[in-house]
Amino acid sequence: MTIQDTQTILQPELVNQLERKISYLRDLQSAIKNNQISQVYQLLDPHKLNDNVKKISSEVSMVQLEYLIADIKKDIAAFLAPELINYVVTNFNFLTLAPVAEDATNYNVYLGDWWDHRQVGTLNVLSVMMTSDDTIFSELIETAKLPEGKTINATKIQELREVITGLESFLADNTKRSLELQVIEDQLSEISANKSGLFGRSDKVTREALEKKQELLIATQKRVPEVEEKLSKQQEDLLTFEKEDALRQLELQAILAHYVDVPEFSAALQNIYVSYMTKLD
């Protein structure tokens, strides 16, 4: 077989392949031009749409050609994002979304719009898939099971408060200790001045007792900076635990205002692709 014969045999297949690519790009161009969002998603991942939404088997031969658009994915994401974000914030109005820096295809998803709200996951605009933070969901499920007024950190908070009260009381007693020391110093000076007095032996016993008390008080006073530091650390820990509890309470309140329970909300997030495509149709 000559080179020409080989070319003649391969030519139709090659032309077909090129035709499929051109057709794919033309379809995508047309979908974008006509603002057919659902069609764009269909072209980005036909298997996913057919399997999940249309419940029909995709043709095995249907080759995904999305690699053809690898270099313009960011632009396609920018095109798709407004509609999707609008859908999410309308249907999950207690979620807030913020684009991931220098990544047009992903949005960080936060629970609530309050101070230091927690990120619950990341939404991919092209796949309409959300990755979720399992720890947050576990914590929320645990919180929901607790009796009214109880929190995950309640015990730790109670313990810390007791420690803090003790430390504050130690520091508050410092003025009393200083005065006590002053009195002991005065008494010791008085004994020293009276060393040749009649009661020499009892003075010695008293002096020793006072000196021991003085040593103890000085040693206690030396602990003040260490206690202050510890108090500051414990207060920081208390704030951390209280903040965690406050965040979980707000998150749970927001979720339960819209869903029966946390798993139902989690399922709704996992099902976002299907619900969005259904809405687009």
Partner: protein, 305 residues
């Protein structure tokens, strides 16, 4: 008078009587004038009056009042002119220091006391809790609010019981007095008192730590209020209380630091930061917990304990 000399005696007595005659004229003028600049000028002369210039005549009886008495009388006149709510001067039994009673706060009494400052001046103090409201320096024309102690005062039972309208009336009273003082070139600093000026109330310290805002978030959440991150051009945090918003706004300043302010947004221009201190216990708790950082910037140097 080294020697007994009738003419000298007579001259000195006349000089002393003239001196006290001037005193009488001043007191009379103080009681009759309705003109604010004149009132302040008379008060300055009363405060400068030195009875020790009198060599022979001494007045030593229960009517020889300390200077704070005349400051009280003058302030009462200004206060009466500044508000429809009346001001009364009361001299409690067996006391030499007159008290001020403002009609809006029937269960509270106030008095003036001398500030322990080289520059002089007087503090207006609430008597039950000994809480300072303001500093008034008549000689150097200064009128400043003690924001720390006034915030504490609005928490007291007497003031809480009187309610929000009473607080508003008292704030308007002081604001109106300050407006009169501005006309005679006074230096005024009454942060947060005027309901019309509730934006840009500066905090004492720059660069607020995240911990401090976290702590406000936690205290607010316990009372079912939500601290939110501010959206828009400015950074900061916001709490919405009905139709009123309390904003903690961050401003970049030239020295590389950030100045934080309180902005109270109330379309009706009724609510002040002190209204919020009174109505939102969590906000006052947070404010007093972090007073050295988030306290309102005032003329702290004149408030000496």
């Amino acid at each position: 008078m080294d020697k007994f000399e009738t003419k000298l005696y007579s001259n000195q007595l006349k000089a002393d009587l003239d001196l006290f005659n001037r005193w009488q004229v001043l007191i009379d003028a103080l009681s009759t004038t309705d003109n604010m600049p004149e009132l302040l000028a008379i008060l300055q002369k009363i405060l400068a009056f030195d009875s020790h210039q009198s060599k022979m005549v001494r007045i030593d009886n229960e009517y020889w009042f300390p200077t704070t008495h005349w400051v009280t009388i003058a302030f009462a006149k200004l206060s009466e002119q500044a508000s429809l709510s009346s001001t009364k001067v009361v001299l409690p039994n067996a006391q030499k220091v007159a008290e001020l009673h403002f009609a809006e706060w029937p269960n509270a009494a106030f008095r003036f006391m001398q500030a322990p400052l080289a520059a002089g001046g007087y503090y207006l103090v609430e008597t039950a809790q000994n809480l300072r409201v303001l500093y008034w320096d008549i000689m150097h024309k200064r009128f400043y609010l003690d924001t720390n102690q006034f915030a504490k005062l609005v928490q007291t039972q007497a003031v809480q019981l009187a309610g929000l309208d009473a607080l508003a009336t008292f704030q308007k009273r002081l604001t109106a007095i300050a407006s009169q003082f501005i006309e005679v070139a006074y230096d005024i600093m009454l942060p947060g008192l005027d309901a019309q000026k509730q934006v840009g109330l500066e905090m004492i310290q720059k660069d607020l730590s995240t911990n401090i805002l976290d702590s406000l978030f936690v205290l607010a959440a316990k009372q079912q209020f939500i601290l939110k991150r501010m959206t828009g051009e400015k950074n900061g945090a916001i709490i919405t209380i009905g139709e009123v918003s309390l904003k903690l706004t961050q401003h970049d300043i030239n020295d590389g630091h950030e100045q934080w302010t309180y902005d109270i947004i109330d379309d009706n221009k009724i609510v002040t930061i002190y209204t919020l201190f009174q109505q939102l216990p969590f906000f006052y708790q947070w404010y007093s917990d972090h007073l050295t950082v988030v306290g309102l910037k005032d003329k702290r140097e004149v408030f000496v304990d």
